[in-house]
């Protein structure tokens, strides 16, 4: 968590350094202009808002992962076999993310039909992903890995569940974008929300890949190194 915060702090520090924090406002009058004036962030507010939200959601996942590693160190932890279905769903989510990128590109080119098609396909694959996750849960439950059976089981359901909720939230935003697109003839007005959805999907994919690496034990070495550093 502290490493995650350090990254955020570095970004904030870099930005603040551009803002003239060493200025002496008591000596300066007028409206600052010219190259030395502090620059604003040039992105649109919605994108900045989403960026901040991703930082908050990122903090949430990082905290869950920290909890995972702390709990894992306790003696009653029994590793969990991962259903192979998860690798299929990973592929589906990657496809979904790619399709949304495609939609963003088509929207930028102004190709309405293509954009609509890519968005629909992207949404459909995301729904398939969530359904796949649920199927994986079912397999686990049928395999006798109940939610309260062992902390490793609980973490599996919690991490995948919180991630799936984020996908559902994204789908709601996508549905809103889609409705807006059908309402207006002008593709330009929905270009920005489509771009935001694509960015969010990239985030979902990255988070999922990290979670998968942790759940399958691929990131155990890393967890151990972090643990050693702290103790």
């Amino acid at each position: 968590m502290l490493a995650f915060l350090a990254v955020l702090a570095t970004i904030a520090a870099w930005w603040l350094s551009q803002q003239g924090l060493a200025a002496k406002p008591w000596l300066e009058e007028g409206v600052p202009v010219g190259p030395r004036a502090p620059r604003r962030i040039s992105t649109e507010p919605a994108k900045l808002g989403l960026g901040l939200f991703l930082a908050v959601a990122g903090a949430l996942f990082v905290l869950l992962i920290s909890g995972y590693f702390m709990r894992k160190g306790l003696p009653d932890w029994r590793p969990l076999p991962m259903p192979p279905l998860l690798f299929v769903t990973t592929g589906v989510l990657a496809a979904s993310s790619l399709l949304l990128r495609l939609a963003r590109r088509s929207a930028e080119r102004g190709a309405r039909e293509e954009t609509q098609l890519a968005l629909t396909a992207g949404a459909a694959t995301a729904i398939v992903f969530v359904a796949g996750q649920m199927a994986a849960w079912r397999q686990m439950l049928e395999g006798g890995f109940g939610i309260a059976g062992n902390p490793s089981n609980t973490f599996f359901y919690l991490l995948t569940g919180v991630h799936a909720l984020h996908v559902l939230g994204g789908l709601a935003a996508l549905a809103w974008t889609f409705a807006k697109m059908r309402e207006s003839d002008d593709l330009a007005s929905t270009r920005s929300p489509i771009g935001l959805c694509a960015l969010y999907w990239d985030f979902l994919l990255v988070v999922w890949l990290v979670l998968l690496a942790i759940l399958t034990g691929f990131a155990d070495g890393l967890g151990e190194i972090c643990g050693r550093l702290l103790s």
Binding site: L2, A9, L21, P25, E29, I41, G67, R71, D76
Partner: protein, 593 residues
């Protein structure tokens, strides 16, 4: 010096960097006053809800005090009710009152006005933020009426006891409490994203970061901390909810209760403590930083002097924010954690005192040789400085492991915490309400009632919490429902407890004077005009008072100077508003600085 002035004066106004926003215009009474997207209305909704639920917490504190002074006297008090009162009091005051009123209340009202924006950047999300907050409050209130009553786990909700049978509110109270916290965090995140993006993107022309009033700096930085700290509480609450509802073992170790092996196994209560305090300590600064900012503005305005060391103040706010994330485990010295951790956290705790002390010095130096007007807001601001220093100094005691260990479970901690995080910020809330009420309503709050309210609250708070330090040093334990006969607690402690309780009742009742004043002055208060305190910052320069929808009429204001041009030598008045263009006379004064 003259060179600098000549170079920095610019009279040409550059084109707007951010296009003027299209405001949502409400069409019905319902969307104007109830489901409003106007930050000013949302601010009032937030504040009124927070103050109302705060009164409930005040009554809870009376229950606590009545029990401590007169044990075995009241039929309505038993151990369960006592612990429920303690929990409800702490949780409401810290989260549902202070956090909500500073960020949701003052944040919403002041950010757009002070930076020259028409509204928040995402008004719809802002409205949702309030309604989810209200839902969180209602869920909390619902727990009072649930079977078994609200949870009595203490405001820190430590597992395992928080979710074990035997703790009051085990059946429904704790579930509702956790659900309410989860809702609160979701609602706050919506509002918080708004405040940050608005400060970053919504500033009017000329309003550089280093020209923002310190109030905005405080609220902005506190919001950033809160956005990153609340997820820790969120994770903790979700995990505990799973432990309680589904029988998982995140935090629950193997437990034998009444000879029976419970379903839990192998969990770590310390993990919860880490998550809780990773949120909990930044929470102190989530409340303190806006208070710091507002006090700076109050002092500067009412002492007719520019704030001393503005740049240092900004840097101090930022460094406190960064440091607040690396001190959390000083709440856990007695949890049995690895001792070397204690050393690290004691060091960071003492380091955080440096920027904080710097701010105190700067406030005092702002007052020094100022033209001090002892108005009600100024009284509250000065009272804050004194109280904050008191509470801060005992914090330095407790930051050291060797001092904390014996004092940790005594009333000393209660006294320290209430001074620094209870009384100090609430004094600022009062001061700020007296200061900004004229802008919000167009009328002044009654001065006499304000004075009465101030003196009873201020002196009363000291009469309550000063003796409590002494009780703590005697070894009187906190958290106990009843002390009973102990060899080390002399009978005088009982008398002292009675004294404290009587004062607490009086101070509590005195708050009714304030509440009455709020409503009475709405109709009968003296008309204030647009700028009764002759202040420089933008919110006092609006074309209408109270500010209309969209705040600024046709044209957004342009900012030409910082927010602290008070008593400038050679200027016509003793204040120059931020949006007043430079003149030859004003230019000359900069040379004389």
């Amino acid at each position: 010096m003259v060179d600098v002035t000549a170079r920095t004066i610019e009279t040409a106004v550059p084109p707007a960097e951010v296009p003027d926003v299209e405001l949502y215009h409400p069409k019905s009474w319902l969307t104007t006053w109830v489901f409003s997207q106007d930050a000013k209305i949302i601010a009032i909704q937030y504040s009124m809800t927070a103050l109302t639920i705060g009164l409930v917490a005040l009554v809870a504190s009376w229950l606590i005090r009545l029990q401590l002074a007169f044990p075995n006297t009241f039929s309505f008090m038993d151990a369960a009710t006592y612990y429920q009162a303690v929990t409800v009091h702490g949780m409401i005051m810290v989260i549902y009152l202070l956090t909500a009123v500073f960020l949701g209340g003052f944040g919403n009202y002041l950010i757009p006005l002070m930076i020259g924006a028409r509204d928040m950047v995402f008004p719809y999300v802002n409205m949702l933020s309030y309604w989810i907050y209200l839902a969180a409050v209602l869920v909390l209130v619902a727990s009072f009426f649930a079977p078994g009553g609200p949870t009595g786990a203490g405001w820190t909700l430590y597992p395992p006891q928080a979710i074990l049978e035997g703790t009051p509110g085990y059946s429904a109270g704790i579930i509702l409490m956790l659900a309410s916290l989860i809702l609160f965090i979701i609602g706050f995140t919506m509002g918080g994203l708004n405040y940050v993006v608005t400060v970053l993107q919504g500033r009017t022309r000329g309003m550089t970061l280093m020209r923002m009033p310190l109030t905005v700096w405080g609220i902005f930085t506190a919001t950033v901390i809160a956005l990153l700290a609340f997820p820790a509480l969120f994770v903790g609450a979700v995990m505990m909810l799973l432990d309680r509802a589904l029988g998982t073992s995140f935090f629950m170790p193997a437990i034998i209760q009444a000879g029976e092996h419970l379903k839990y196994n192998g969990g770590s209560p310390i993990l919860f403590q880490h998550l809780f305090w990773f949120f909990g300590h930044p929470e102190v600064y989530i409340v303190a930083l806006p208070a710091f900012g507002m006090v700076s503005d109050l002092i500067s305005t009412h002492a007719r002097k520019n704030i001393f060391g503005y740049r240092m103040m900004v840097w101090a706010i930022i460094s406190i924010a960064v440091l607040s994330f690396v001190v959390w485990a000083h709440h856990m010295y007695v949890s049995g954690m690895y001792p070397a951790f204690g050393f690290f956290f004691a060091t960071t705790t003492l380091i955080i005192a440096v920027p904080t002390a710097l701010k105190v010095y700067n406030w005092v130096l702002t007052l020094w040789r100022g033209d001090i007007h002892l108005t009600v807001p100024m009284l509250f601001a000065i009272a804050f400085i004194v109280t904050f220093v008191n509470g801060g100094l005992t914090g330095l005691f407790l930051g050291n492991v060797v001092v904390d260990v014996p004092l940790s479970d005594t009333m000393f901690v209660v006294a320290h915490f209430h001074m620094v995080m209870g009384v100090a910020p609430i004094l600022v809330v009062f001061g700020a309400i007296y200061h900004w009420y004229p802008k919000i309503t167009g009328r002044m709050l009654n001065e006499v009632m304000g004075q009465v309210h101030f003196w009873i609250t201020f002196l009363g708070a000291y009469a309550i919490f000063f003796p409590m330090h002494y009780l703590g040093l005697l070894g009187v334990p906190r958290r106990y429902f009843e002390i009973g006969q102990t060899s080390f607690v002399p009978p005088s402690a009982e008398t002292l407890n009675i004294f404290i309780t009587v004062v607490a009742l009086v101070v509590g009742i005195a708050q009714l004077v304030f509440v009455f004043n709020l409503f009475w002055s709405l109709k009968k208060g003296r008309e204030s005009g647009p700028n009764p305190w002759r202040a420089t910052s933008l919110e006092w320069q609006t074309p209408e008072t109270p500010p209309g929808h969209g705040n600024w009429g046709k044209e957004l204001p342009v900012v030409y100077r910082w927010a602290y041009d008070y008593s400038v030598p050679g200027a016509e008045q003793d204040f120059i508003p931020q949006n007043e263009p430079p003149s030859a006379l004003n230019g000359a004064r900069a040379a004389g600085h």
